[in-house]
């Protein structure tokens, strides 16, 4: 299976690209796609516990199923909104 992977912010920098086509033979879930990404780009593993994901512009879970041609995005913890510190 082939999916289009989108990466952002520091995760994008660690992998060295923000968009890539990933061959993930036998992959059926987002977790499988992530495993294939980490296999190809071990640096991505830094986000294994903190990233979330989206499939075809819908927030998803690691257990969400993926299909050939899907856009799978991995999202580091977000920090939009105000420029001020959180309080």
């Amino acid at each position: 299976m082939r999916v289009n992977v989108k990466l952002f912010a520091r995760l994008r920098e660690l992998v060295g690209q923000g968009e890539l086509t990933l061959d993930a033979p036998g992959a059926t879930t987002v977790a499988d796609v992530w495993a294939a990404l980490v296999a190809a780009h071990p640096a991505a593993d830094a986000y294994a516990r903190s990233m979330s994901c989206a499939v075809n512009l819908n927030y998803a879970r690691m257990t969400t199923t993926v299909a050939d041609g899907d856009e799978v995005a991995f999202l580091p913890p977000v920090s939009g909104g105000s420029g001020a510190a959180a309080r």
């Binding site: 913890p77 939009g80 909104g81 105000s82 420029g83 001020a84």
Partner: protein
């Protein structure tokens, strides 16, 4: 009437966001503007770069607006968020919400900024005197009910 949601690299306009919530029945409008601060946790900030997953970020703003309009009767909300390089003092986000009564306007506006920081796929790259760092906050999941409850609790305190 301007768009209720926008992810844009152009400077934000409070007036434009206000126009998006115009309409009958309103008695109060609360707005929130987030600005790039000159300092952050003791660092002298030089500028910020905001990166967005644009189509999902715009969709996420729409989700937040739908949540707020469902929670506060008669509310109309708009949110514009900027991307790219922002200098000190520039606006990164503008929220406006019109409601019949003022308590709801404040609550809905506060709810929106808390939810933005929870779920909208936008990332802040801080360039400060002596280095740069990606700011990382919440793990973004629009379906996380505990996060949503936390935002509601802050808004309605």
């Amino acid at each position: 009437m301007t768009s209720a949601t926008a992810i844009t690299s152009a400077p934000l306009s409070v007036e434009a966001v206000l126009r998006a919530v115009e309409g009958p029945g309103a008695g109060a409008v609360a707005t929130f503007v987030g600005l790039v601060r000159d300092h952050n946790v003791g660092r002298k900030v030089l500028w910020l770069d905001y990166e967005a997953y644009e189509p999902l970020a715009e969709k996420a703003l729409g989700i937040i607006i739908a949540e707020a309009e469902a929670r506060w009767a008669g509310a109309r909300m708009a949110i514009h968020h900027r991307t790219g390089r922002l200098e000190i003092g520039e606006a990164s986000v503008v929220i406006a919400v019109a409601t019949p009564h003022r308590a709801d306007a404040f609550a809905a506006c506060r709810y929106a900024i808390e939810r933005i920081k929870q779920i909208v796929p936008i990332w802040k790259h801080e360039h400060f005197e002596g280095g740069e760092v990606w700011i990382e906050g919440a793990t973004a999941d629009a379906h996380d009910e505990a996060a949503r409850e936390a935002a509601l609790k802050i808004a309605c305190a």
